[in-house]
């Protein structure tokens, strides 16, 4: 892993030197289809950070013998399914070769038709709902899927936490939390689960906590957005929830750590990356974040890494691999070679199956250390 990274770094430097010699390189555009506002705005910003860092390391790519400058083109899908198609269209009209994103499954599902109609390939970074790639020829993704993640979490709840009755809380109409709860319930057993959904714009999570307590549940599963998460944690603390909270990859964020620090709440999550797995990468990106005030603000004010940032980093290199393999900046050519692109990323090996999903069979389980405010590694979980 380190070798790859140092190689990349050296390459980046050489390319950077080369770039300075040829000031007027042609430009290849990569679309960044991520939420910058709304419920998932904070998470989307963290995911973009990874891409920006990767872009800072490797600002050029050699396609068919020509060196291209890589330009990231941003479009804010505002975490909203009805804004997503238009945001996707602005990327398409600005002439991107391929698109990265999004954080949150709903917006990816909503925009998949727009990408499909234009024939522009998209690589999902952390959209885990099966519907993103199913039935869409242009959507690929580098993350694991909800049926996998839901099963891992359900097994963890049963075997490690010894839970017998689970309270599942999702946001209404949200494909990420709804989907994940659904697969969790499938794996945990429908009769042992209480499933509720809160509407958009909910501010009062205390009743849901009371519901979980009243129904005698012993694990609280709420893979919702980080915005809602911070409030759920606060309420769980004031109301003495009395059971562990379990969540998926979105909760692997410093927002959660900040909310949970100093409280009496037990939190476990599954995720893509464990900080410290690649010390050199961690060091590099932290330096970059600390040197860049905007990046620091977008990361929530400290340099604690979120797994989605690392996923964004890997996604950028997958995109470069695809461009190299295609030997062209035409979206149609990129789409053609994308299924066979592979890449050894910081989060592990990335390759696509016939649907366009990543071949990933393991997830990290982490627990929140409420005293020091960092993640403690618990286990690597697989299914099978």
């Amino acid at each position: 892993m380190k070798k790859v990274l140092s190689l990349v770094l050296v390459l980046a430097m050489i390319v950077a030197l080369g770039a300075s010699a040829y000031a007027d390189n042609p430009v290849v555009k990569i679309g960044v289809f991520e939420p910058q506002s709304g419920d998932n705005g904070a998470g989307g910003k963290q995911e973009v950070l990874g891409m920006q860092y990767a872009n800072a390391l490797t600002p050029t790519v050699e396609i068919d013998g020509t060196t291209y400058d890589v330009e990231l083109v941003y479009a804010d899908n505002a975490s909203s399914n009805d804004k997503a198609p238009t945001a996707a269209q602005t990327l398409i009209s600005s002439g991107v070769s391929l698109v990265l994103g999004s954080y949150g499954s709903g917006v990816s599902i909503a925009a998949s038709d727009t990408f499909d109609a234009a024939g522009v390939p998209a690589i999902g970074v952390t959209c885990t709902n099966p519907q993103v790639t199913a039935g869409c020829d242009v959507y690929f993704r580098i993350c694991f899927l909800d049926p996998f993640q839901g099963t891992v979490l359900a097994n963890f709840a049963k075997n490690e936490l010894g839970a017998t009755k689970a309270y599942c809380l999702a946001k209404q109409g949200d494909d990420y939390s709804g989907g994940l709860c659904n697969y969790f319930i499938d794996a945990f057993g429908k009769d042992n689960c209480v499933y509720e959904q809160f509407p958009e714009g909910t501010s009062d999570y205390s009743t849901y906590i009371t519901n979980a307590q009243n129904q005698g549940c012993d694990v609280f599963f709420s893979p919702v957005s980080t915005e809602a998460a911070a409030q759920i944690i606060a309420k769980a603390d004031t109301q003495a929830l009395g059971m562990p909270i379990l969540a998926g990859d979105t909760w692997d964020s410093n927002v959660i750590l900040q909310a949970a620090k100093g409280t009496n709440v037990k939190i476990c999550v599954t995720t893509f990356y464990q900080e410290g797995a690649d010390a050199e990468f961690d060091k590099g990106i932290k330096e970059w974040i600390n040197a860049n005030p905007t990046a620091l603000a977008n990361n929530g004010g400290n340099d604690e890494l979120a797994a989605v940032t690392v996923m964004g980093f890997d996604a950028y290199y997958v995109a470069l691999e695809a461009l190299k393999a295609a030997g062209s900046v035409d979206p149609a050519d990129v789409l053609e070679v994308l299924p066979s692109v592979t890449y050894e990323g910081v989060t592990g090996a990335i390759a696509f199956d016939e649907i366009g999903d990543a071949l990933r069979d393991s997830a990290f389980v982490k627990a929140c250390n409420t005293e020091s405010g960092v993640w403690d590694f618990v286990a690597v979980a697989t299914v099978g």
């Binding site: 499933y195 501010s203 009743t207 519901n211 009243n214 409030q231």
Partner: protein, 308 residues
Amino acid sequence: MDALKTTLPYIISGVSVGGQYALIAIGYTMVYGILRLINFAHGDVFMVAGLMMVYLAASLPLYLAIPLVILLTVALGFTIERVAYKPLRTAPRMSVMISAIGVSYLLQNLALYITGGLNKNYPAIPWISDRISIFGMETSRVTVITPFLTIILVVALVQLINHTKIGMAMRAVSRDFETSQLMGIQINRVISATFIIGTFLAAVGSILFFTNYPGVVPTSGAMPGLKAFVAAVFGGIGSIPGAVIGAFIIGIAESVIKGLDTILIVNGVIDEQIGLATFSDAFTFVLLIIILVFKPTGLFGEKSTDKV
């Protein structure tokens, strides 16, 4: 007994939300009483008060930030009336309402711009956000003090309206706009006073509300605002006690509906979740339509005849 124990937390939390709605609802009912205007922007003023606290508390100590937030919110309410409603005093009612919707749109978009569309965490105010235990139930202190504080403020307001000169002027204006103008009441001063009182209460309400539910987003004010308005209609528009009672009813109903599945399951009425929580917001509007159809003047409203 068991049924009571499972239901009690919902009722306590409902009473608390109800108190917060009540403080917003008074602003609606007073403005409507005088101008016959649904001030759609009122809920957004409530949200802006929340945001101001987030930003001010970051740089000022709380004992300065709290009065400043209240002062600035009042100034905002006053300005909105002067800029967006006063020029339209002779225009048709629909125009004023559209202007109110426009102000609401503007405030939400401004908030979106300033926050970057991200959730802002409300600062924890010591003492009132502390955790306490009541009837064996864990909650924060604000939940318990809200209803009392609401009632104290309302009693003070009723005294103000019944026993001061400006209060008398307000009553006169809400009874008959034109005649009171002829009697020498300075309409604009009365209207400004109404907006000042309304936004002051909304600012206090926002401190209580966001201490309880500490996430502020640009749309935070929309739903509480609508519910508070419904509370005002429910209680009889123009009637302050009516608005307060309406707000408590709506707050409790909302909270109980969110937990209704659980209450019914625990008490053995139904076997599995049926998703009634989906209707926690919609039920407010069901109440509204029922009252509008069967008793359009609300619970305590006075009957008024339409003038040709």
